[in-house]
Amino acid sequence: MNDIQEVRRMLAPANPVPPGGLAGSAQDAAGRAAFARVTASRPAPPRRRTRARLVAVGGLAVAVAAGVTVAQNTDDPGRPAVQQLSGAQVVLVKAADAVRTRGFTAPRPDQWVYVETRYRRSGVPRKGEVRTPASPLTTVVDRLWTKADGTRLAYAEKGRLVVSPTGSAMPPSDYATVARLPRDPDALLAWARRNAPPKAGDDRAFGLLSSLLNNNGVLPPDQEAAVYRAMAKIPRVVLDRAARDGRGRPALGVSLVVEGYVKQEILLDPATYAYRGHRATIVRDHTFPDGGTFRKGTVESESMRLAAGVVDRAGQRP
């Protein structure tokens, strides 16, 4: 007798979840939250190597901190890279300094960190689909409570608070784990590069640091300052003084073009240098191997931080 067929026949009535019984779980609120957490953990490696450029990062950063404009070689003569690079670094250093001027009280382990973020996404173009700057964006507001000790995650689903255990994530998104990261910019950058996939290089280190800001509503000030200073050490990071945040308000955009077609940008408040959100914009037409296409100018995703703070219980707002 065929064992396979016979075992299937015998076990089918005892199957606690019949085939297809959980269809749709990948896309429900919990599924989407899990997807966001997993993919925020570390961006994917590029298939193709992006252009490599050599910049004396260490020496440059020192010069910038001292307020000196530094000329460096660039292989892109059409771009005033010198101005932009130093501008980005000046803004990042100012953002790092501004962090320390804000009041801060670390959450107790039994408290929760709340972060409310509005995401707008174009969605991934499937085979035969084309996303253009005119394509509609889907808006989702995420309200997440993460217990400061890292043991629990809570979110609202259909008006009900769902509490689940936290999975490990890279970068970490709970206060206890984040607080253990290096606070020295060089050490933090080394950590980001180590946790980016091999060969992904600084494209991914920048993305990892950007996710660290986005996913954590509350960071120790030294930590947040180290993130900005580490970003300042990444070559090719540029400043856009005319950027707009998700609400259309003026913002400072600090960005890196990764894989040759996506601009990954963090958005900072122009007056206080506080973190406001992120945007990923397609800067060159791109077709995926399976046939989906992004047109230049399409916003792949953007986020805007609506609220963040420490509360005593999951479900509370700061």
């Binding site: 075992v7 076990l11 009535p13 269809a23 749709g24 991934v124 995703s301």
Partner: protein, 180 residues
């Protein structure tokens, strides 16, 4: 969105439900969500290792290891809190089995009497609908070894079912407390 992220989104869409179902069949739903997320986190970090032609058994192999780690951790933290379905079921009164059961309960009871090794072999085929080739990937053994284990497990399942049937008659006549 870089290509690899695009591929990962496709992997998620295609298999998350089934990976979650695999976990839900073995632990409580809350832990199962965790196990599924953990599995895809491994897939995300080891994207280059995910076989493009047959990702599902690879994912279940990871899920199985995650589940084992989870079980070890839980046992360490709180000696049989009863959250792992297998553990809880072992402590459930056998009276349920006797009380004129539907076929599913009867087979479920028989499964619980088998060693975990046999159970997983049977479940991968019976519940996850895998063939021997894919199930062997999940368990990390050869197809031949799997087929032998499946054959033996099926025979042991049949034996336990027969055993249960002989127990049924006297037990149903007894007045048993629910805790018995």
């Amino acid at each position: 969105m870089p290509d690899a992220e695009h591929d990962f989104a496709a992997l998620w869409d295609a298999y998350y439900d089934d990976v979650l179902a695999y976990a839900v069949r073995r632990v409580d739903p809350e832990t199962a969500r965790d196990v599924a997320a953990e599995t895809f986190l491994v897939a995300w970090r080891r994207r280059d290792d995910v076989p493009a032609d047959r990702p599902f058994p690879w994912l279940l192999h990871v899920a199985r290891n995650t589940l084992a780690n989870e079980a070890r951790g839980r046992r360490r933290r709180a000696r049989l809190w009863g959250r792992l379905r297998d553990d809880r079921d072992l402590t459930e009164p056998v009276a349920d089995v006797a009380a004129g059961l539907a076929e599913g309960g009867r087979v479920g009871a028989a499964l619980r009497r088998l060693p975990e090794r046999d159970r997983e072999v049977l479940r991968l085929v019976g519940w996850e609908d895998l063939d021997a080739r894919d199930a062997a990937v999940v368990l990390g053994c050869s197809v031949k070894t799997f087929s032998v284990r499946l054959h033996r497990a099926r025979k042991r399942l049949a034996a336990v079912l027969a055993e249960l049937d002989t127990e049924r008659v006297p037990r149903t006549t007894l007045q048993r407390s629910p805790q018995a």
